[in-house]
Amino acid sequence: MAVKNKKLNLKDKYQYLTRDMAWEPTYQKKKDIFPDEDFEGIKITDWSQWEDPFRLTMDAYWKYQAEKEKKLYAIFDAFAQNNGHQNISDARYVNALKLFLTGVSPLEHAAFQGYAKVGRQFSGAGARVACQMQAIDELRHSQTQQHAMSHYNKHFNGLHDAAYMHDRVWFLSVPKSFFDDARSAGPFEFLTAISFSFEYVLTNLLFVPFMSGAAYNGDMATVTFGFSAQSDEARHMTLGLEVIKFILEQHEDNVPIVQRWIDKWFWRGFRLLSLVSMMMDYMLPNKVMSWSEAWEVYYEQNGGALFKDLERYGIRPPKYQDVANDAKHHISHQLWGTFYQYSQATNFHTWIPGKEEMDWMSEKYPETFDKYYRPRYEHWAKEHAEGRRFYNNTLPQLCQVCQVPTLFTEMGEPTKLSHRQMNYEGERYHFCSEACCDIFKHEPEKYVQAWLPVHQIYQGNCEGGDVETVVQKYYHINIGEDNFEYVGSPDHKRWLSIKGKSSDDKAEGSKQDAA
């Protein structure tokens, strides 16, 4: 062995401080210490080729993270002390936070658990360390979100039982099944699904709507949390990019496996983000940009550059991305229309957009809004004005895979549902699209297990025989407080009294008409 006499550079020093602490076991078999690495069919010939995506020793981690936490909690304290919740643009905005806390925050916690798990499963020590650091980062996000929302929970409804709701409420099985799918998969698929597809390819489509939405709507607590968390995300993104390249470079047999995962997880991520699309276009009184614009910049442009880079490995862009790209003109409206009519069973309010907002949407969606969606809202507004605010009393058909109601439409035919169905072992399964049906076909034994909230209600597993009992008793949604129409809700009334008004008024700066 050559005697070293040259001072180590940053890269090599970091390797000595991480992977070099590992060794080749001789008293126990490697396969017994790392039993979960082979079953996915991914071939790793040489772990020493793993490039550490970032080089943070624990002393630096503690130092930088403590600095971030100090700043963050100072803001949380100031926000609470000064009743910062009164400075948001409008109380309608808080519904975005209700969606976030029940839909996204539990995923941060699941990510903590998932990364702790894969942080043990890989035989490559460099990969383990990167995953463990992400695990503790995700715990940070989970906990700082609880703290960020704490003050809002004291002054608005719908935020009071997020994890409990996440386990039960019908639309929350969309994010829950997404992450259960990733966590129940093997370690390589988990990293492809979350580190690459979600934390790299699609991350801005979660971050920009919520965090910029917060910035534009006067929510100091959330915007500060968002920016503080995003510096962790930069590390997570580099892990995502490194892991995909490493797997692809290790063996050509990995390419088709990874391609299939990229296809699956792009689509599951896209479907999950449909909830965010409606938040972005409908729940933010001060608009950041339209969902259509966000998708164009953050997926079509950014993603385009990325997949061009991956061409040399034999990877092509995700299957059905053309469907997703076309859908950007539609999905926010399709989702909002659905949630509008199922608001008796949600922990957040819905409403008809005001005139200015509808005009904004006409401008942002010139080919679709006035033609397909404005007429629905005008009809429902009229119904509401005449005392018949519309609630749909039947339960929606959910897609077996993504678990969103089967409300999506064919590309180029926005009045035709893209519903698919197939029989599998004597049962009929329903899907929102060809893409979800494809995912099912590849792993039917997995998706037949899904806990579909609507099926479960009908089977009597949700503590009630009628929707109202399920909503109050099983979902812990407080009827008349958390749910139904925004206008006239306790949140609305409280907001008016905070602002010293008797009704929403354009002259005061609000962009809403009272319905």
């Binding site: 942080g119 906990q143 002054h155 966590r183």
Partner: protein
């Protein structure tokens, strides 16, 4: 002159989250409480793990230990993430000062060759034990559901990586940051008779499946003997070999271990007191593993402090476990 600042006060409609209020009542909750209770998914999982068809996700039966409510195990330090990194940032600042001072004054490189070699042979290889501890605690954090318990284990997993890095830096100080000393130290770990029982023990822990068995073995039995032996007794012994300057570089480990007793003791106390079945299971594990830990440390003790130091440490562990109605071998001093 007194200053009165009026803010626009608005009455809250609730004092905390529903899941917190169910446990502690509707009153303002601490940051630790809001961050640490009932955040994980508990029911209605969608798919069985492909890597473990015998369990569901978040399955409480990944250990044979049974608790009515795992949230009975809490952290006396009340560490949530912010408190944890804040605490460690202060510790690392002190450690950084010590390392910087040591480096500047060449306190290690001026030690005689033989002493430097002892450091590389007797102390630095423990960085590999630390990696084993890091791996074990990461596994536990992934298997545990209750946040009060899981977060303690991810914190300690990262702590072990940090301690391993401090031990590595001792060697890097000795070899002028070329890595040569670390290579030498690793050879001892792999081939020196002194380390083989320890290496075997660590590898044996890496195939333990039951996460509570693992936390008991790693965080109570191994650490409970190793840390006092190495960072108290061997530290003193190194001082007697004129290597007392090493002490400033391991102060972090002493402070860390002392703190760790708070949460590991609290955890064992609650779990052992829950039921006879738990206590019997813990006892069975102690009977199986503690003698192995003792044997694994014998060569290290014999090469440094002498076996009496290890026996005394063993007795201390025994006294500690007695408080939880558990027995281990070790003659009371």
């Amino acid at each position: 002159m007194s200053i009165e600042i009026k803010t626009n006060s608005v009455e809250p409609i609730r004092q905390t989250y529903g899941h917190i209020a169910r446990r502690f009542g509707d009153k303002p909750a601490s940051r630790y409480q809001e961050a640490s209770y009932d955040l994980e998914a508990k029911t209605n999982f969608h798919y069985r793990p492909l890597w473990d068809s015998k369990h569901t996700l978040n399955d409480p039966t990944r250990t044979s230990i049974r608790m009515e409510d795992w949230y009975a195990v809490t952290d006396p330090r009340q560490f949530y993430y912010g408190a944890y990194v804040g605490n460690r940032a202060k510790m690392q600042e002190a450690a950084e000062t010590s390392f910087g001072f040591c480096e500047k004054r060449n306190l290690l490189t001026r030690l005689p060759e033989a002493t430097q070699k002892q450091i590389l042979r007797l102390l630095v290889p423990l960085r590999h034990v630390e990696l084993g501890a890091n791996m074990n605690n990461s596994k536990i954090a992934g298997d545990v559901n209750a946040t009060t318990v899981s977060q303690m284990h991810i914190y300690t997993a990262m702590d072990r990586l940090g301690i391993g890095q401090y031990l590595s830096r001792i060697a890097l100080m000795l070899d002028g940051s070329t890595g040569a000393a670390l290579d030498e130290s690793k050879c001892y770990w792999m081939d020196d008779e002194l380390w083989q029982p320890m290496r075997k023990l660590v590898e044996d822990t890496l195939v333990v499946d039951d996460w509570f068995e693992l936390t008991l073995v790693q965080n109570v039995l191994v650490d409970g003997l190793l840390f006092p032996l190495v960072y108290e007794r061997m530290d003193q012994w190194l001082g007697e070999q004129d290597a007392e300057d090493v002490s400033m570089l391991t102060e972090f480990m002493r402070d860390w271990y002392k703190e760790s007793l708070r949460w590991t003791n609290a955890m064992i106390k609650v779990v052992a007191a829950e039921s006879d079945a738990n206590r019997e299971q813990l006892q069975a594990w102690i009977d199986q593993w503690e003698p192995q830990v003792y044997s694994a440390l014998k060569p290290l003790a014999e090469a440094s402090t002498g076996i009496e130091a290890l026996d005394e440490t063993r007795a201390q562990l025994s006294t500690r476990l007695k408080k939880f109605q558990l027995q281990s071998q070790g003659v009371s001093a």
